[in-house]
Amino acid sequence: MDDFIAARSQMALSLGFHIIFSCIGMVMPFFMAVSHYKWLKTNDEVYKNLTKAWSKGVAIFFATGAVSGTMLSFELGLLWPKFMDHAGPIFGMPFSLEGTAFFIEAIALGFFLYGWNKLNKWFHWFTGMVVGVSGLASGILVVAANAWMNSPAGFDFVNGKYLNIDPIQAMFNKAWFSQALHMCLAAFTATGFAVAGVHALMILRNRNAVFHLKAFKIAAVFACIAALLQPLSGDISAKDVAKRQPAKLAAMEALYKTEKPAPLLIGGIVNEKDKTVKGAIKIPGALSFLAHGDFKAEVKGLDQIPENEHPPVAITHYAFQIMVGIGTLLLLVSLTYFFILFKKKALTEKRWLLKLFVFAIPLGYIALEAGWVVTEVGRQPWIIYGIMRTKDAVTPMPGIAYSFYIFSAIYVSLSVIVTFLLYRQIKMVPILYNKTEQNDN
């Protein structure tokens, strides 16, 4: 394997791995806080057990998220030293603030996990909220750093030198808001559907239905609200991309020729050699509308962009299709769920709805990974859009392929173990939480 490809693959793998755990770390504390709040208000033991059961899951995920994040902060240098040499001082601001947010999160988590029966109960609840809020804040900050790579700001690039560096301006670059908003919603959608789905499965199997129904409801409401907002925020993102990264937009839609008005392609097989797309459904004018809010507007195609600045079209296009397809599907699931809630139908009787949620367990995460592929692969060949090419940033050290193999093996084994642990955690629910009290922590 070529070292450059190995470095890219290792980066993608590490990020793709970390993002799953960080999303759980960002979102689960809010689910727990709701359940915890209900316990404090109603004194219903089930909510207390639910909070504890979730918090054990979260502890497993948090540790995995933290070590994979530590890994990433080294990897930026291990794999992309020339990028970090210039970018560090410019886009580092969010990372240093993020340090603070992480720290607070870690401390608050210490309080929360070990604070049962030791702290004032509302202070204890509050520490749980702090975990969630600081997790969300760190998510937003890191995404702002990534947004800077898509939309560089806060410096002047003169003759290959980076002058007049202003880290604050770099942080509030043009892309940060749309990306951060979309990312936060994605975290809620993905984690919400995954959690709701797992509990739906337990209800279907008739295991501790009271416990799992309460869990299901909390997660499903968060998930469905987020899924309703997701396409709206995605539309903001798309308009944003059209403005700042026309090459990415063209790749997302496999638009080889500039068109006015431009049709939206759904599906289709991309042939990168002949620059054609076969078998796609065309919706006339829809892309013009998506990108510019006007059915007749012109959309820049790849023909207006130098060949050596084209991103990989097929991957970007397929990934975008997957994300939007799943987004639409989850939107429909959410609408159905709210309709049933509105009609006040008993959920346990709607087994098909629960089955739908079980089906949706992995979908949110698939969309999330696909979305990142759109953003990151669609930025290629640039690491800093329009400023530095990815291949110029890679480490001079040979043999990165081995590093890639080793880390892949580690990530695969970690995923297997975490899944296994979670499976056990869920399987043990009847034993651990059916009794009135159980051992602490």
Binding site: K56, I60, F62, A63, T64, A66, V67, S68, G69, T70, M71, S73, F74, L76, G77, L78, P81, K82, M84, D85, G88, P89, I90, G92, M93, F95, S96, L97, E98, G99, T100, F102, F103, I104, A106, I107, L109, G110, L113, Y114, G115, K118, L119, I165, D166, P167, I168, T395, P396, M397, P398, S403, I406, L414, I417, L421, R424, Q425, M428, L432
Partner: protein
């Protein structure tokens, strides 16, 4: 602001050595504990470091973020020429961090525990060893950016007598810190005696490896003796460290466990100070005889200003919270 940022960097590195080090040490101690006492050691350890272990590791991240934001050249030089030891240390961090949590949170306690324990112990050892190797390499003067062959560029920078000796020295120090820390965490006289034994053992190991470090320095032509004995600060630090060792053993016999911890921390701090003071603010010594200095590679002014501000603001938010965490979970012991 430069000074603020550098102070925070040194603080973060020091705290990582002390707190993270004690954390690695706990695994190292477990490695050197006889099978029949292991489960007890494990329990004491979990109670001791469970609530704070996550926070301990933040110091590493703070240090790394300060480096890549404020001193990118140092960060990238390390990343390129110490790629291999850094990657190994990272694998260690991943393995021990996850194993530690998995073994506690696994809902079923069965044979998997055996696996988690193994991983935790060995990776604690490896992580501490490579942390030391990296620290040693930074000052060993073997890093060579002009190198043209793979071995000189990516291997001999860290695989040399001095760096490896510092690695083992670090392992012993970590074990020592952890043993001292654990003495105060257990109530049973029998266990106390066990941890005191461990502290003795690690202390002797530290002295032996400390001597090795000097021998290796001599062999690799590193002026370690000059740094330590020819500068007033270096010398006083070593004298204080030795004096506190005497005091430490006296207190150990008296059973004053809380002061012990402070003293052990103080001792390690003095050792680090003695080694690093003479060439501060140089951060990396190169084979060519040049050095990369913190002051000369500091990032652009606005960046440093915002970074410093973020750090100050962060500590105002964090320190009271962190202090309360330690306080709250210390108090339960009494």
């Amino acid at each position: 602001m430069k000074e603020v940022v550098i102070t925070f960097l040194c603080m973060a590195i020091l705290l990582y050595f002390l707190l993270g080090g004690a954390d690695f040490g706990a695994g190292i101690i477990e490695l050197f504990t006889s099978t029949k006492n292991r489960s007890k050691t494990r329990k004491t350890m979990y109670q001791a470091i469970g609530p704070v272990w996550e926070a301990n590791h933040m110091w590493l991240i703070i240090a790394i973020v300060i480096l890549f934001v404020g001193f990118p050249f140092i960060y990238t030089t390390m990343s390129v020429y110490l790629h291999i030891p850094l990657a190994i240390m990272l694998i260690g961090i991943i393995a021990r961090g996850t194993a530690f949590v998995f073994r506690h949170y696994d809902a079923v306690k069965d044979d998997m525990q055996w696996l988690y324990n193994r991983i935790f112990r060995y990776s604690s050892f490896v992580t501490a060893l490579f942390l030391g190797i990296i620290a040693g390499s930074l000052i060993s003067g073997h890093i060579d950016p002009q190198a043209t062959d793979f071995y000189t560029a990516y291997i001999s920078g860290w695989l040399n007598w001095f760096s490896v000796a510092v690695g083992f020295f670090t392992v012993a120090l970590c074990g020592f810190l952890a043993a001292i820390y654990l003495i105060g965490e257990t109530k049973e006289a029998h266990d106390k005696r066990r941890f005191i034994k461990k502290a003795e053992f690690m202390n002797i190991a530290a002295v032996v490896f400390g001597a090795m470090v000097f021998i290796a320095a001599q062999r690799d032509k590193i002026p370690l003796i000059d740094w330590v004995f020819k500068s007033t600060v270096g010398l006083s630090a070593i004298v204080l460290a030795s004096l506190s060792l005497v005091l430490l053993w006296y207190l150990l016999i008296k059973g004053k466990t809380k002061v012990l911890r402070i003293l052990a921390g103080f001792q390690v701090t003095m050792i680090l100070l003695a080694i690093s003071y003479a060439h501060f603010p140089n951060f990396i010594r190169l084979k060519s005889g040049d050095a990369i200095s913190l002051l000369e590679t500091v990032g652009p002014e606005k960046t440093i200003y915002s970074l410093g501000l973020a750090l100050l603001l962060g500590s105002v938010l964090i320190l009271p919270f962190l202090g309360y965490l330690f306080y709250k979970f210390q108090k339960k012991e009494e």
